[in-house]
Symmetry: C2
Subunit: 356 residues, 2 copies
């Protein structure tokens, strides 16, 4: 295979091309085998690239797209009204084999809707889920869904669990522990969807299902895969980012309080810097869509350059691991064969999508 | 008024009386005006108290209750089958004026169901909510519901917002900023309940409604009151506890890694100990039920002695502030008068309750 190309929706996100183009240029400098295709208004993109004369243009192409999907545009609008949007064209490049992955920091709901329409889901998958690894006491844990599906049926939660399990295996975990996020570990706890999903998972012999897990157990490292609906997952993820930032800031303030504290702080600084880096949300930025016939990575809409670079790195890793192919072969057995008797009628329409 | 008495459900929680009795004894030593009534199996309680000969028995009474509600018992079972449970008798003491508050670390669902039956809700309130203050960058923020109501209607979220606003005012915040927790700040984001609750709050002139808030905004201190359903609130709270613990542990490990790190760590220890204390979940333990005709504080089921003491302190503060009376007078205007035209028919039964 020739060097993979990653299609970048250069117009998405809160900061747009003025953040995305420099981040892309920096990634090219860091990874000599990386090829990027920037999709967006070509004159604007050329103008920004011109400010980076050292860039290797042999590995950076521009694909023109006249339209941009706004951050608060409804997904239905994005599907119908903008055939030439940068987001759609980046996804079409993946579909047509011109790129091996797509990265966008744009409107999550529109990205989800367009990705389903352009790339289609894998057999047996109702709706794709967004997944990322969050740091835990003992390593990390895959959390899904992160906001692509606001309301989920039990069947969808079950599918997320299966996809999460396969994704964890692709990271080298042989028998990933899979848990459902809930407000208690007792069987009587939780809402109807979670209880019904537990019933489905208990019957699935191919999954190492551990039962319910609570929010604290997650960070204690008690599971490899934690499954929840996109409303809960998105709020958990963003709260964690906010809390980690708060703690880091409080540590800094603490070390500025007195002369002695400042002296100690100066000594402790390298250590604390490392901690901050370990917990920095941008480092964990980029959520992969699971369940699509192609690789799509969503960057946080408000991610800066560092965050966007993380998302590009994540896409490269997904290409390397060839996650969709792994998912397809495993899901065929787990979802299509095993669960061909399940009732597809309980699939509800999603209520909306998470913030970018 | 004579010194307030707090009724303690001494049998609840994961650790039971062997944790609760010593915590109560220690609280009595710390607060000379505090009176406690321990409710539970009297012979067992006497036996444990006998190990603390210094306790001021004039301020510590025992009320016998033969039955105990299990942590995984269904609320309906607790309501019907156990008329002599320690939880019920502690609540009845509040109802009958024999105590001014009740503290329990037992089964949340049972406590919610019994409290509603024994104490009743305030006029205009469908269901009580559990609230606590969480630390933010700039101080703290009231978060509700924390798990008493798994599924919530828009009307219930509205009522939580009003109760949270009044509770924040009782803490001295004149015009508390009230926000709905959501997965984005744009109007199109979120599930149906959250969108409909936003509509109700936009019409409520008496509330300083700020719109949607995301998980990170919460910890940045962008609101004084954050409203969500009990499923989301419980997972957010417990995840935050887990993450804070993880960060504190990582800091400690960091300072043990090398000799130099250990030396710096020894110097930094007093500062870091303070940070850990600031973020220690037990310090924030104890959630007040809002919307009942009486004061009920829920201690985390797995809280140790320190956590249970926090819950007792919280109950004392609630007695001092006389929160139910403040709520009653404000809610009468805000819920009963203002919203007498609202449809009470949209109140759904809760799907279950949060873990202890």
């Amino acid at each position: 295979m020739s060097a993979p190309i990653i299609a970048i929706d250069a117009m998405g996100g809160d900061f747009g091309p003025h953040c995305i183009v420099p981040a892309s240029v920096q990634c090219l400098a860091e990874y000599p085998s990386l090829h990027l295709a920037l999709v967006g208004q070509s004159s604007l993109l050329e103008e920004i690239i011109a400010r980076h004369p050292a860039v290797d243009r042999a590995r950076l192409s521009i694909v023109n797209a006249d339209e941009v999907i706004g951050m608060d545009e409804r997904p239905a609008q994005a599907l119908r009204a903008k055939p030439r949007s940068s987001m759609r064209i980046a996804l079409e490049m993946v579909r047509d084999g011109q790129a091996q992955a797509c990265v966008s920091g744009g409107n999550t709901g529109a990205l989800m809707a367009l990705a389903r329409q352009v790339l289609k889901t894998l057999p047996g998958v109702d709706r794709p889920a967004m997944v990322t690894a969050i740091p835990t006491l003992e390593g990390s844990c895959l959390l899904l869904d992160l906001g692509a599906n606001v309301d989920c049926t039990a069947e969808q939660l079950y599918q997320f669990a299966v996809m999460g399990s396969v994704a964890a295996q692709s990271l080298g975990i042989e028998q990933p522990r899979v848990s459902l996020l809930n407000i208690g570990t007792e069987a009587i706890k939780g809402n109807q969807q979670v209880k019904a999903a537990a019933g489905l998972l208990q019957q699935a012999s191919c999954i190492n299902y551990q039962g319910f897990i609570e929010g604290d157990g997650l960070f204690r490292g008690e599971t490899d895969v934690a499954v929840c609906d996109g409303f809960v997952g998105n709020i958990l993820l963003k709260s964690s980012e906010g809390l980690a930032h708060m703690v880091a800031t409080r540590v800094e303030l603490l070390f500025r309080r007195s002369l002695i504290a400042r002296l100690v702080g100066a000594l402790a600084l390298p250590l604390l810097r490392q901690l901050r880096a370990d917990l920095r949300p941008a480092q964990y930025n980029g959520a992969s869509f699971l369940g699509l016939q192609g690789i799509v990575v969503k960057s946080h809409g408000s991610a800066g350059g560092e965050g966007f670079r993380s998302a590009i790195r994540r896409a490269s890793q997904d290409v390397e691991r060839n996650l969709p192919a792994q998912l397809r072969s495993r899901l065929e057995h787990l979802l299509v064969t095993d669960r061909s008797t399940s009732d597809p009628g309980d699939v509800t329409a999603p209520g909306g999508s998470a913030s970018n």
